[in-house]
Subunit: 113 residues, 2 copies
């Protein structure tokens, strides 16, 4: 398991542009160019935001032809952000645990739309 990079992760989430990027990526992968469109700031500025998100492991990058495709890394959010939420709210943690038990006992896994 790679280092948590909690600082990087939360710092990355502390900027509205980066949160918007993550939001858009939650709907599916996008190229750097597609991400840059829709922001009023320059391409290099967006590129730096993407680098920060990548360093925080909140997104992953892969090359495809001459494009760079970015995809959301949901695991990082679970491991870092989720960890903190659970720590701070005992009810959430308890609820998630008991829910998991309950669901696993009473409902066979089915496909969900």
């Amino acid at each position: 398991m790679p280092a948590p990079r909690t600082d990087l992760c939360f710092h990355a989430l502390g900027d509205g542009v980066r949160r918007t990027i993550l939001d858009r990526l939650s709907a599916g992968e996008l190229s750097a160019g597609a991400i840059a469109e829709g922001f009023d700031i320059s391409w290099p500025a967006v590129s730096r935001h993407l680098r920060l998100l990548k360093e925080a492991r909140l997104v992953e990058e892969r090359r495809e032809g001459r494009q760079r495709i970015y995809a959301l890394n949901r695991g990082t959010l679970q491991q870092t952000v989720g960890h903190w939420v659970a720590l701070f709210d005992a009810r959430w943690a308890d609820n998630l645990r008991s829910l998991k038990d309950h669901v696993e006992r009473s409902q066979p896994p089915r496909g969900r739309p």
Copy 2:
């Protein structure tokens, strides 16, 4: 409902000292002095961290004699951080939804301030 202050909230969580403060407060209220003890940085530095946490509504402050008592505000974490986690992880969102249904149906509500 006060403004979410998402930027402030995540920015506050992006610093290790502030996360440690929140961590300690999760065990119970503490005075500013009690918080400052245990950090190698100066009191004024800790005081500023506390102000940031207060502005982000992650903690609440009240005066008691000549002390200032700080307490964790769990609601802010749920509203801002929790919201994002749920957005990014469809399974969590689903779990929370079905959990809410399940709990509301099977457990009578308990008094909570």
